[in-house]
Symmetry: C2
């Protein structure tokens, strides 16, 4: 299962009533933070999370509202005595931007590993979790900007009758289920597919902010359990601003969801001028019924289907 917490839902500038947009994803004891604007460490603490075990930081782009909280976050991680390395991922320029911000966070007791994105789409696994794929996809903002899809794959069900037919002892079952290939003493090599049924539906989360609508978003959110999508403006009269500033209206986000058909969509990254996003949701739900106005702290757990 994957825990998801939308730490903040504001765009552009942090407000007293709304933190900047940021997402915390937790899987198997690991934590992934997507973006880190001013105040993210506070909202993280407010929700009861620690900044120590953040293993991966994904950055969509380097506008201040998405990274201005980084120096403080790094120092808080240092203060909580973190020593394990942190992987940072973002568009080209990441290392330069981070090192420049680190003028006020120079000495850290942990290493930072950088992965700079330049291709339209790049994939990598969550360190130590080969079944958890992170896929970065380029979107259309005023500066290079990426969305992220996270996909947890699920092997097929273990077929006891096949394992028994192969004469495999029980201690080997778990290893095969985890994907290990096993060489038996009699010389036979048993691969997982010999004892597993068809691959089952996994979990998928798609996250995208700061972009105009584009095809890459639909592909990334196709069949997702949860699509988190920017909606800078609720009022359709702000469409001109959305086009000019390379953002989206709620209706534009809804159309993407209608095309991608995720289980549900949460909106986020609201303009400071948008005080009550909920008021603009009726027309959104006409286009895509399972849409919700995200709010600070909105949380869910994505679980495998019972089978």
């Amino acid at each position: 299962m994957i825990d998801v917490c939308l730490l903040g839902t504001g765009g552009m500038m942090p407000m007293p009533f709304r933190w900047l947009t940021s997402l915390l994803v937790r899987y198997n004891g690991k934590q992934i933070l997507v973006d880190c604007g001013e105040g993210t460490q506070i909202t993280l603490r407010k929700r009861g999370f620690s900044s120590n075990p953040i293993d991966v930081m994904l950055f969509t782009h380097y506008h201040a509202d998405h990274i201005s909280g980084l120096p403080g976050m790094l120092l808080s991680m240092a203060n909580s005595e973190r020593t394990e390395p942190v992987l940072m991922v973002g568009p080209r320029g990441l290392e330069r931007v981070v090192n420049s911000l680190r003028v006020i966070a120079p000495g850290l007791p942990f290493q930072i590993e950088f992965r700079e994105l330049s291709e339209p789409e790049e994939s990598f696994t969550l360190p130590g979790e080969k079944d958890f794929l992170i896929r970065a996809f380029k979107v259309q903002h005023s500066v290079p900007c990426y969305g992220y899809a996270m996909e947890l794959s699920r092997t097929g069900r273990f077929q006891v009758e096949k394992a028994e037919a192969l004469g495999l002892e029980k201690p080997l079952w778990g290893r095969l289920q985890k994907g290990e290939t096993i060489r038996l003493e009699d010389g036979r090599v048993i691969t997982p597919d010999q004892v597993l049924g068809e691959t089952r539906k996994g979990l998928k989360l798609a996250y995208v902010t700061d972009t105009r609508p584009c095809e890459a978003i639909v592909r990334a959110a196709e069949g997702a359990d949860l699509m988190i999508c920017e909606g800078m403006y609720g009022d359709e009269s702000k469409h001109v601003d959305a086009v000019q500033k390379k953002h989206m209206t709620f209706r534009e986000a809804a159309k993407l969801a209608a095309a991608a058909q995720p289980e549900q969509m949460w909106l986020t990254h609201y303009s400071p001028s948008l005080l009550r996003p909920e008021e603009f949701m009726d027309p959104v739900r006409e286009i895509f019924p399972n849409a919700y106005a995200g709010k600070d702290g909105k949380t869910t757990t994505l679980r495998f289907l019972e089978d």
Copy 2:
């Protein structure tokens, strides 16, 4: 009169229940901000202030909790369409630190003027206000760090009888009171001291954080209307930490106040571990009775004495 608002009272890291230490001072339509840690722009907005008219930013030093909110603040000032220059003052290295942080706030519609401090004490007036003196004084922290005293001087009372004896027409009175020297049509030169009584008591505010106790603090706070002073630790058992980390306990701050005799003292810059500063105030008030545990948003107006 001078309006003072203690925007935050936390040290080291911002907490969900306490913003980082920062002070807003307002005088005659001008605003001075002392330090700008992560979240300062939020607490400023929360108190109903705008970030647009911040004319001067004074930095005590460049530990992250005192400057990490700067890039976001600058962008908010830009978004509120500020075009007037901003004066920034702080220890040596200011321009380098600010420019490094500006990697995420590159284009601004206003100029930044830098004044870097290197002497043990330096004075300058608030731009456009010759009666408002800002005095920076070096304190004792782990890195170069300054406290700030702000002094508003007050001319003597206007002596109507002297003005009349000199045969001055009424329209000239106000100009003399504002400090202007006037040349009359008959050739006489009238200076303000010819029509003003003795200089009256002005206003004084002293602000100091991130330091061990030192004589410079006492001098700066001597006879101040308000002394705002760091108290990192309430519990005297933390004295060892205070010495090691170059901070102060509440009692140490109280002793400085007892020596300087300001009208009142507010404590600030509490350790994240210090949850209820008020609980430690009894022994502080034994040393200096008019002491208060500052809290976020604590506000006062310093006024000239009636006379």
